[in-house]
Amino acid sequence: MIEQFQATFSDHIIAVEASDMPTFVIRKESVLPVLTQLFKEFKVQFLTDLCGIHYPDATPPMLGVVYHLHALTTNTRIRIKAFTPVSEPHFPSVVSLFSAANWMERETYDFFGIIFDGHPNLKRILNEDGMTYFPMRKEYPLEEGTRTDKDDAQFGREKIT
């Protein structure tokens, strides 16, 4: 099934990664068509997980969305990743395929600021509505910056970001 997938979507796939499960990096524009075709033709109809990831050191800095999909009939798991520059944080929403994606996308928006176009109700979910930043992005520190008692330099380490 994985070979078939690779052959069908060869235009969309940017990279195939060696990992614990078949992992494909696709273009952001391809997410909705690929997932739709997977859903309808390959019976990959279970969205296990959807989450964001932030690579501030890439050029340009990138935001990614990772989809874990599961074809329950053949018990095949697939991981699909797509990336977008931080300056343009838009992704297509997959709520039309998977109702499960609704809150997962809201969570990803809440923490990474990725805007899912076509989402029915894209607003913060775990953090308060008035928050002005996206806390899971790497540039936001875990604690407020005024604390000095936890300076890593005092323990002989580089500052951990």
Partner: protein
Amino acid sequence: MSVTLNLGPTHPATHGVFQNIIEIDGETILSADSTIGYIHRAFEKLAEHRPYYQITPITDRLNYCSSPINNLGWHMTVEKLLGVTVPKRVDYMRVIIMELARISDHLICNSILGVDTGAFSGFLYLFQHREKIYEIYEEVCGARLTTNIGRIGGFERDFNDTFYIKINEFLDEFSEALTEFESLLTRNRIFMDRTIGAGGISAERALNYGFTGPNLRAAGVDYDVRVMNPYSSYEDFEFEIPVGTNGDCYDRYMVRNVEMWQSISIIKQALAKMPEGPYHADVPEFYLPPKQDVYQYMEALIYHFKIVMGEIPVPVGEVYHSVEGGNGEVGFYLVSDGGRSPFRLHFRRPSFINYQAYPELIVGGLLSDAILTLSSLNIIAGELDA
């Protein structure tokens, strides 16, 4: 004329901090809107700043009704990243602990469902046995609720004699109590009238909503991670996966009850077949050496220091590992860049994913059924908000 009702976030009937703005016409629910995040503790952000072994206590606080499953699931995830194979004995020890945790999770859910329908005594019959389970945890790891059980590579100590005495006692007494509990509730006319048909969901909708665990199985889909993607030697055990038909509160109750019986059977099999051997893998870079060795031997001291200071290199890569938790598939998506803490760690939390179907489940039903549906979905606030 409709009335808007604010249910929660601190309403006693919701067993946790859940807020729902519900529009009712008489007793019928017209619409519902859930607000979550009241106990959000930024675990994913915290995890990015901690060495691997210090993330175990975070996982305790996800589903605190069955914390050992989260702990051991996390250990297995890290072992998968590191490529560590644990001895067979560790697998069996883990299975025993995880099945105990499953019992303690299902036991709370089902007995509280009884309380919500007005049958308080069933709760008292079962709940004292959760205390027995906690005492067993205590023998293994010293803690009760937030267990922090085991380590990367195995367990910190072998099961002791008191453990075996207590678990055998528990298995006997709990079987009796569960039989008694079932005789109180399962064919109880009031309980059946309240739960049959309340909060039902079809298999298609359940799958589309990403349901896993007992909630999905009650809708008739036999998906169980223990069978589909066996971990920790689950393939060695004989057990059944119960499924329901309507996906309503009664089916969820029945599925959980049968699963408790299956867990008892798995624990018995594991105790009977328990292989001899070491109780941890031979991974000195990740498994703390015995304390007396730290005081006597140079290598042990070095390893101890390196582990505690988090200076051990880990491979670059990403893994997803999932275990069958009390509420469904508990997944850990771990991305490592080789640093001392994860580059990214995402928890797949079944309660979070299940709870978004809640408005759909209760709309059109009665307000009192909404309370039952919330209990029988077994939404745990800690897991919901992470």
